[in-house]
């Protein structure tokens, strides 16, 4: 069976982002971009399922600007077999991405779609669930363990208060949590091999999807700064301050 993995190009998680002074957004010019960390975990899981023989082909998909090709090459260097870029320059919101992925799923007929649980730029945590809804498939979100057997996926999920296990009929959507796996490092030979793999480029219009944003961002601002704190010399002073100054204990 085929597995489809969705990957997003985002500002690298180590970068301290700056809000543009005109309040229109975050400055992403000349900032290091990488694959969303949760998506790396998604690609790794798909490749591991292939190595175990549960999956026959791994297709990486990304939606966005031309430079997303780099992200797809990284996915192929991890082990994805081929890639599809849905190229567009407009802002893409989760609902639009979910519709694009649904259209690709109709075309490619995967039994499993794996996504990260959230992107670290918009922090939405929506796309996987939306795709499952649009496709009419079951979902297993925030996965920390995935097992495929007998046309079902048994998935352990991280929930508030502990872990929960569900069994979903395939085709299904799985979104990854941090502890699902540790993504492998891409090696130079694999980077070279990835350059030879197929990367197909399509447009939203080819898929018949309207990607017009539904939410309008009116303003982006810096979060309120915390007042400067003080350093205390010893535990006694700390206790005194907490009791008399902050009055929290």
């Amino acid at each position: 069976m085929k597995a489809l993995v969705a990957v997003k190009r985002v500002v690298d998680y180590n970068v301290k982002v700056r809000v543009k002074s005109d309040g229109t957004g975050v400055d992403t010019a000349n900032v290091k971009m990488s694959m969303n960390p949760f998506d790396e975990i998604a690609v790794e899981e798909a490749v591991r399922l292939k190595e175990k023989g549960a999956v026959s082909e791994v297709i990486a998909v990304s939606c966005g600007v031309t430079q997303c090709q780099e992200t797809l090459r990284t996915a192929m260097a991890i082990g994805a077999d081929r890639a599809i870029l849905v190229e567009c320059t407009e802002e893409l919101q989760p609902l639009a991405v979910a519709k694009l992925l649904k259209a690709l799923a109709d075309k490619e007929q995967p039994q499993l779609v794996i996504l990260g649980k959230q992107a670290i730029d918009d922090d939405c945590n929506q796309t996987g669930q939306m795709l499952a809804a649009l496709a009419g498939w079951p979902q297993a979100t925030f996965a920390s363990k995935v097992e495929i057997a007998d046309g079902r996926a048994q998935v352990t999920r991280e929930v508030d208060g502990g872990l929960e296990t569900v069994s979903v009929a395939l085709p299904a959507v799985v979104t990854t949590d941090l502890r699902l796996n540790e993504p492998r490092y891409v090696t130079l030979p694999n980077i070279m091999k990835a350059k030879k793999k197929t990367l197909e480029v399509v447009k939203p219009a080819d898929l018949g999807v309207d990607v017009t944003p539904r939410l309008k961002t009116l303003k982006v601002s810096e979060p309120p700064k915390r007042g400067a704190g003080i350093k205390v010399p010893d535990v006694a002073t700390l206790v005194a301050k907490l009791k008399t100054e902050a009055k929290v204990i």
């Binding site: 982002v17 079951p138 299904a172 941090l178 939410l215 601002s221 915390r226 907490l242 902050a246």
Partner: protein, 309 residues
């Protein structure tokens, strides 16, 4: 204009996050109804009826709703959605699981982790791990939101709304509940605790983590939290993780012991009222957000703190 809050509950009682979500719902204007979907959850429905400001409780009771599977709960919400202008879920693991499914089926965008309601169609939410705040406006006919509970006070008691039974939806059948492993804890719930004692990688082992931090938490009646590094190293269970990818907390006192203060951790706790940092490294970023910083070895400072309290 009427708002429906989808309650999170354990059948016997409501989860605290539901109360914060009701407060956000009241700020959207109009009446507030609460949906309690579950199996034999009459007690939770009664609890919802007593929340101040709630005018009606809808109670859907069926075995297929017992385990709160996203497919069935989303279908239940959709069956009722026609009467509402706003659908609000707490931004907990459960709310985040279900809300986008509902939004997609209604063909509307969802606004995640709302921290402020500016007007019935304009909301504030943090992006980039809380390093920027976006104000977004929705033109969709139905607003589907998840509510960051630390952004809103808990709604009080004193209501007496009628509880109305609604027809449960049929089982979707594609998803099955297998089992649950609950982390046992006698402590206050992390997201609702007034005081949190949190530990990082510097604790060095799971034994040390418990040995050093438990007495302090006991003394303060605090919940225990952990950084992602401590969780990944296996010193603390997953659901103690505070941060962008774990729990978002805003207690009145947050004590960070041996936590450097990576962006992803700060995103989960920087709205705490008072932050105390105990760290050996004077350059640790945690000191830039701490109200009181103590540059010391936590293995000496924490036991000393316990003695002096």
């Amino acid at each position: 204009m009427t708002t429906l809050v989808i309650a999170e509950h354990d059948h016997g009682s409501l989860k605290g996050a539901t109360l914060n979500t009701v407060t956000a719902a009241l700020q959207c204007g109009g009446e507030v109804h609460v949906l309690v979907a579950g199996h034999q959850a009459a007690a939770a429905a009664q609890a919802a009826a007593q929340i101040a400001g709630v005018t009606k409780v809808l109670h859907a009771d069926a075995p297929q709703l017992a385990e709160q599977l996203a497919e069935n709960v989303a279908a239940q919400v959709l069956a009722l959605a026609g009467a509402y202008s706003h659908l609000l879920f707490p931004a907990t693991a459960h709310g985040k699981n279900v809300a986008p499914r509902v939004a997609a089926l209604l063909d509307v965008a969802q606004v995640s982790d709302v921290t402020r309601v500016d007007s019935p169609d304009t909301f504030e939410r943090p992006i980039y791990a809380g390093n920027a705040i976006a104000v977004v406006q929705s033109s969709d006919k139905v607003k589907v939101l998840t509510v960051r509970t630390t952004g809103f006070d808990a709604a009080g008691a004193g209501g007496s709304a009628p509880v109305e039974s609604v027809a449960p939806v049929a089982d979707g059948g594609s998803s099955r509940f297998v089992g649950r492993e609950v982390t046992k804890s006698d402590r206050p719930e992390l997201t609702a605790a007034k005081i949190i004692v949190s530990g990082g990688r510097a604790l060095g082992s799971s034994d040390k983590f418990n040995e050093v931090l438990t007495p302090l938490a006991d003394k303060l009646g605090a919940a225990l939290g952990a950084s992602r590094a401590a969780v990944d190293a296996g010193y603390a269970p997953n659901d103690w993780q505070v941060g962008q990818t774990g729990k978002i907390v805003a207690p009145s006192l947050y004590i960070a012991a041996g936590i450097s203060g990576a962006i992803q951790h700060l995103a989960g706790m920087k709205d705490s009222k008072v932050i105390v940092a105990i760290n050996k490294d004077p350059e640790a970023p945690i000191f830039s957000v701490a109200d009181y910083g103590l540059e010391a070895d936590l293995f000496e400072a924490v036991p000393e703190l316990v003695r002096q309290l």
